[in-house]
């Protein structure tokens, strides 16, 4: 997996190899970062990956952007979230920035939405989306990166 890729697929108990994963990097010093870097903030080498797709997170902060670039939903509610890494993890916070999905998204599909209800401290879960924005509509070369990934849906 290259540094700029976010998602991959994994094989679950049923043998389904199409389930997308939300890959963070783990380093020799125990640190986990999202996205992955060549070395940890302390310079330790990468040793493994951690799938964040099944982990809940808390909203650190959020905004709704109304002036969005080409190919991006409008409005676009974004949040920085901090993952619940468990008691065994004592590294720096593991966070991600991503679009917020609406609470009404009952089928688990991330949808473009204009009325997102979210607040600092809310618990959220990652929900997969095939295209977070339209590849090629903006300045970045479509082949240079992945365009799928995870939105964050507030939990009841």
């Amino acid at each position: 997996m290259s540094d700029h890729e976010t998602t991959d697929t994994a094989t679950d108990d049923s043998g389904d190899s199409t389930r997308p994963t939300f890959e963070a990097a783990e380093y020799a010093d125990g640190t986990v970062t999202y996205p992955a870097h060549t070395v940890s903030p302390n310079g330790a080498e990468r040793v493994d990956t951690v799938d964040l797709s099944d982990r809940a997170a808390r909203v650190v902060t959020w905004t709704t952007s109304t002036a969005t670039p080409p190919g991006v939903r409008e409005p676009n509610t974004l949040a920085i979230v901090e993952f619940e890494m468990g008691d065994d993890y004592d590294g720096p916070p593991v966070r991600a920035l991503g679009q917020v999905a609406s609470r009404e998204d009952a089928h688990g599909d991330a949808v473009a939405d204009g009325d997102v209800d979210v607040a600092i401290g809310d618990r959220v879960e990652p929900v997969y989306a095939d295209d977070l924005r339209e590849p090629g509509a903006g300045i970045r070369e479509p082949e240079s990166q992945e365009w799928d990934g995870f939105r964050f849906r507030p939990l009841a």
Binding site: V60, S65, P69, P70, I120, R133
Partner: protein, 386 residues
């Protein structure tokens, strides 16, 4: 190491201009040469601060074009791109060229042509500095500002109105800057009622999209008086550059700009001063929240207290520490590659006593130029020559 002086400066009208980037750069460059009383062929080095002339208008190779237009060949040229802090990075490069002895006379010209693009297109060019995992979510620099402003207001119990007062102050200062894009005051109600751009921030919390250029001429302090009267040059007494994480959400405290703190530590130490020795400052108020963050991380105010300084008038032009007497990026405009150069232009005018109606009592001034959302920072300290 040579002490470095600034002996000439200029800036063009900022705003919506018919001129393209080559013409903007030449306009500022010719005016700065004239201000210093030198010709293009006197220059050893010529630097151009520019973020994205290739992306904005399909014009690359601008330093060489400028050298030709100003008859500065065979001067050594280079383009300095450090996104929104290209200007500050250019000041660093120009200072380095003189301090190291590589050049006896260097000119820096910063410029950008942006207004022919739609807001969405310009926003996307700027957002292209973000990491792929950020870019695919449609993040923009204004949305980083909205995210950070919400957290700051929540953590420090700051009223939303305090951000609006930054805009009111800087627009008021811009009225007296003939080069500013907006020379018009705004009241707090107008700011707070303007359209939402990145909640909780509204239109008047953001700088405009701008065309413009600014230039500075540098030489060793030991020969500065050969070019201009002794009270008409300024000394670059301290300068520091630093970086923070590329990925914004990986910072330990999203309301702290580590690059500002680190670069200013270097600049203060070089200048042999402390934050309270600064008489006037130009900060990178691309968004109103950035004036709070920088004023705290530069050590002017305690963490979480920057908003109180604005509320109490400390940073007004007649306050104890005037901030953004030029009108800041907010009122003056933000032609990316020019902004860091124009910040130092304002401090140069202040410490040489040439700021006209914007003049404050200042022997020592500071400019803080920020790229990305605090990703790259240059802090420059200027002192009066006498």
């Amino acid at each position: 190491m040579e002490r470095v002086a600034i002996i000439g400066a200029s800036m063009t009208q900022f705003g919506q201009r018919d001129a393209w980037v080559r013409e903007l750069l030449a306009e500022a460059g010719a005016a700065a040469l004239d201000d210093a009383g030198i010709d293009g062929d006197d220059l050893d080095h010529l630097y151009v601060s520019n973020m994205a002339s290739g992306e904005f208008e399909g014009q690359t190779g601008v330093p060489n074009a400028l050298a030709h237009d100003l008859a500065a060949t065979p001067a050594y040229t280079a383009r300095i791109d450090q996104t929104s802090s290209s200007g500050g990075a250019g000041v660093y490069a120009a200072w380095q060229s003189i301090a190291s002895g590589a050049s006896d006379l260097t000119m820096l010209v910063g410029g950008e042509k942006m207004t022919h693009r739609t807001t969405a297109e310009a926003t996307d060019v700027i957002a292209s500095l973000t990491h792929p995992v950020e870019y695919k979510h449609g993040v923009t620099l204004p949305s980083f500002a909205g995210l950070t402003a919400r957290l700051y207001l929540d953590e420090y119990d700051a009223p939303r109105e305090s951000l609006g007062k930054v805009a009111v102050k800087n627009h008021k200062n811009g009225v007296d800057n003939p080069h500013a894009q907006f020379q018009k005051e705004v009241d707090l109600d107008t700011v707070l009622d303007s359209p939402v751009v990145a909640d909780p921030l509204r239109l008047y919390d953001f700088c405009p999209i701008t065309d413009g250029s600014a230039a500075l001429v540098f030489c060793p302090e030991s020969v500065a008086a050969e070019y201009v009267p002794e009270d008409q040059y300024a000394v670059v007494s301290g300068i520091g550059g630093a970086t923070d994480t590329h990925v914004v959400h990986e910072r330990a405290d999203p309301t702290t700009m580590g690059g500002v703190a680190d670069s200013s530590d270097i600049a203060y130490e070089m200048a042999g001063i402390a934050p309270d020795d600064v008489d006037v400052a130009e900060l990178h108020d691309m968004f109103t929240i950035l004036e709070f963050l920088q004023s705290e991380d530069l050590g002017f105010f305690e963490k979480g207290e920057g908003w109180k300084a604005v509320e109490e008038g400390v940073t007004d032009r007649d306050g104890d520490l005037p901030i953004n007497t030029s009108g800041g990026l907010k009122s003056k405009g933000h032609p990316l590659g020019a902004s860091g150069v124009a910040q130092v232009y304002e401090i140069y005018q202040q410490v040489t006593g040439n700021a006209g109606p914007r003049q404050v009592d200042a022997d020592t001034g500071l400019a803080c130029n920020v790229g990305g959302f605090g990703n790259c920072v240059t802090t420059t300290v200027l002192e009066a020559s006498q």
